[in-house]
Subunit: 348 residues, 2 copies
């Protein structure tokens, strides 16, 4: 027991530190919530666990103060993550980031899927609130769409991560315009001058955002886009494939680089170029967007692409929610977080 | 109110049916748990919701009996789904199936990610049990691996779906051997006779299972595999690409069909064949495994592939867990559920 005490008593400023519930939880190898429940005689757990926590608390001479007791009673050390991204492409990286940021604080993240049916979705939100989650993070597959459920009326803090929230809410999105600039600047640094932009449907907010970043980066270098307007289609390999054939058929000449609106378009485009004997990146350099590993790394050649840093976005959302839960003020508004360029071989 | 009563009172066997909490919940458009909490004065919810439920209950002349009250008190109408599949490839379809099966019973599904660190995983399980989930479904990315957490000691029912459980547990897996038979039988029905098998690492249990199905289907038709042993590599496009080149270089002749162990291998193989001017399916027919839509549908030509019916597997797991929660007996053991063949153009 002395060994446990030694292990868990950090010497703060040289003075003997006050033993907290965190110390008890760590030494007992349980969550803070479990330690709290064990000591207060509440909750469900194995008898052995409860006994172990009590023994550790005794060995550490743990004395919870009134404020700590009240705080612990009010908090459940769980947060809810709601999403309509049934494919998980966007939400799972966000969830990984939230979990990573909060696991050291003893917080568990529970994901619940809310789809288009708002009545069903609302019943899931009810269930989450009944479980007394400390807060909710709303996430989705489009940053310009709201979830089907109304979270403006729930009585716990809410943060929006990669989906739209109501006026005055706190949200995190990726800065796709700046991300597109990174891609184009890299292509220009490699000597490319005739750069085309092949992208997705214009009714996705990210499409004009990425297109603006593309145009601005070119304009700063005194260049014009290879086609007057971005070539828009759907978010598919098939569109990338078709766009490549259209670009190659143009009698006015070929681009020397293509910045694609997502990795699937880039994949289809590269496959079409390769089949026509056009070398990537030798003749035409290609950059994608998303860094969807399973696509980007398997493309031949492997794809240089913009990563939206969704895990980092989740980390920020999780820490911000914790601030709100613990009563620290957070100004409302949407934060656009930086993307990064992942360089592989397709850009030269 | 009379309208609501009419809408929610099913006439069972011609007699006036007893009004249940289900009827109240449905007419109030809330979950059963919410309806229960509203009427018992417990839990958190908007005042308006609580009032609405009470009014509906009054209008329907709802009188909970003692058993119903006890049952409702004991149940939380939530189940926990644990997974170590951080990519979601396997778990998200399973989750969709569970949710679909249970949403009509008013049950919400909460997903929690448990990774390799078993102490952290266990703290998430603790958090789930503290939330008093009615039961737990364990799922993963490999059906021959256990999760890092020990669920044999928890005091709620547990069902295993696409991961290994302890001796005597209740589990659901896909019948990959029979799935492989479906693929090979289709190829033979289309006249193919020289069929090769290119697959993943042999230490995955599914690899010998799929290989056995492949060999058995051929043997029943009096045929031998094109290569004496399955060609094993990793689960990647790069391996499929390399395997195609190896098959084409063989002076003993070419196969007329390849059954691949997953869709990524099939994709790489088809791309290599296409680049070498070998027609798919004209010269060589190809079938994959997984039906990972985003790959299978985008392959040129679109890929015929075996679907493990993971959503159906989730449905079965969810309904079985509900049986256990409601006290109906379920014999232990692992159920292997049928796969289905999704026919696209790559098989001819």
């Amino acid at each position: 027991m002395d060994e446990a005490a030694d292990r868990t008593l950090p010497a703060r400023n040289g003075r003997a530190a006050r033993v907290t519930i965190h110390d008890v939880a760590r030494a007992s190898e349980v969550s803070i919530a479990t330690a709290s429940k064990a000591l207060s005689g509440q909750g469900r757990m194995a008898v052995a666990t409860r006994e172990r926590v009590k023994e550790v608390a005794k060995a550490l001479s743990f004395r919870p103060n009134a404020i700590a007791r009240a705080l612990l009673k009010q908090r459940s050390f769980t947060i809810g993550l709601l999403t309509d991204d049934t494919y998980g492409r966007f939400t799972l990286p966000v969830m990984a980031g939230i979990s990573e940021a909060l696991v050291d604080r003893g917080v568990s993240v529970f994901l619940c899927s809310v789809e288009r049916d708002s009545a069903v979705g609302q019943s899931h939100v009810d269930a989450m609130l009944e479980k007394q989650v400390d807060g909710i993070i709303a996430s989705g597959k489009r940053l310009d769409r709201r979830l089907s459920v109304d979270l403006s009326v729930v009585d716990v803090p809410v943060v929006y991560a990669y989906c739209e929230g109501p006026e005055g809410s706190i949200g995190f999105v990726s800065d796709d315009r700046a991300g597109a600039c990174l891609a184009v600047e890299r292509l220009m640094a490699l000597g490319r001058r005739r750069i085309a932009h092949v992208t997705g449907p214009a009714d996705f907010a990210v499409v004009p955002q990425r297109a603006r970043g593309f145009a601005e980066a070119l304009a700063r270098a005194g260049l014009r886009p290879f086609t007057e307007h971005p070539m828009v289609g759907d978010w598919s390999e098939a569109w990338g494939f078709a766009a490549a054939e259209r670009l190659l058929a143009d009698p006015a000449g070929r681009p020397d680089a293509v910045f694609c609106g997502n990795d699937q378009i880039a994949r289809g485009l590269i496959d079409a170029l390769t089949l026509r004997g056009v070398a990537v990146p030798g003749d035409i350099a290609v950059v994608g967007f998303d860094n969807w590993e399973i696509f980007a790394a398997a493309t031949r050649p492997p794809l240089t692409t913009v990563d939206m840093n969704l895990k980092d976005l989740g980390r920020h959302a999780g820490l911000t929610l914790l601030d709100l839960v613990e009563g620290r003020p957070v100004p409302p508004g949407v934060r656009a977080l930086p993307c990064r360029l992942v360089v592989r071989r397709s850009c030269g």
